[in-house]
């Protein structure tokens, strides 16, 4: 189970962005956005900050530690 849960997909769709469009904004591949949304890949601090900035929210709003 991933240590991190996220609301990336929720915030992205609320912003009206596709995975590809968000990927272009933060200079990653669409597949990376997909794996982050599915909690398969844990983004770096830099990428997390870029995603939060692109979605006009905070990192804490996007990502949360899971209780294991």
């Amino acid at each position: 189970m991933s240590l991190l849960s996220n609301r990336l997909k929720e915030r992205r769709t609320a912003s009206g962005l596709t995975q590809a469009a968000l990927a272009d904004q933060v200079d990653v591949s669409r597949k990376t956005i997909n794996t982050v949304e599915n909690a398969v890949f844990i983004p770096s601090t830099v990428l997390a900050l870029k995603l939060a900035a692109a979605l006009e929210t905070s990192v804490e709003d996007l990502f949360q530690l899971t209780n294991e």
């Binding site: 200079d27 990653v28 591949s29 597949k31 990376t32 794996t35 398969v40 890949f41 770096s44």
Partner: protein, 134 residues
Amino acid sequence: MNVVAVARFLGNFLVAFGFVTVLFVLMPMFPNVSGSTWALSLFAAAGIGIFVQVIAVAGRPTDAVSAWDEQSKASNQASYVFGYWCVMAVFLVFLLFVLTGEMTADQAFLWLGAPLGIAPALYMVVAFLRGRAG
């Protein structure tokens, strides 16, 4: 479609499955062809793979940024770790073969090059298909 990522996938595919094709299909079909010829053909395949990637990057430089994003870099680093352990395992097997006389040390040395080059390429092929590399 990310052209650079696809070119990288094709290059890795060429190397990984080129070896399998040579070893299990072509070598039995053409037993009189020397091992060095097959080795050169694999080097040529790797060279073609590199050339294709260079062309892709030159033609679509913006694709290179996302093709080498942090997830792709993580997969690339993991491929080298995978390659290390593969070579370690193959080395131990070859060591046993050499000690028991099934293989000469020269043969073992030369054939050890194959997993050294193939394992990381194979890992990256799988990573691409799983959506972990571009």
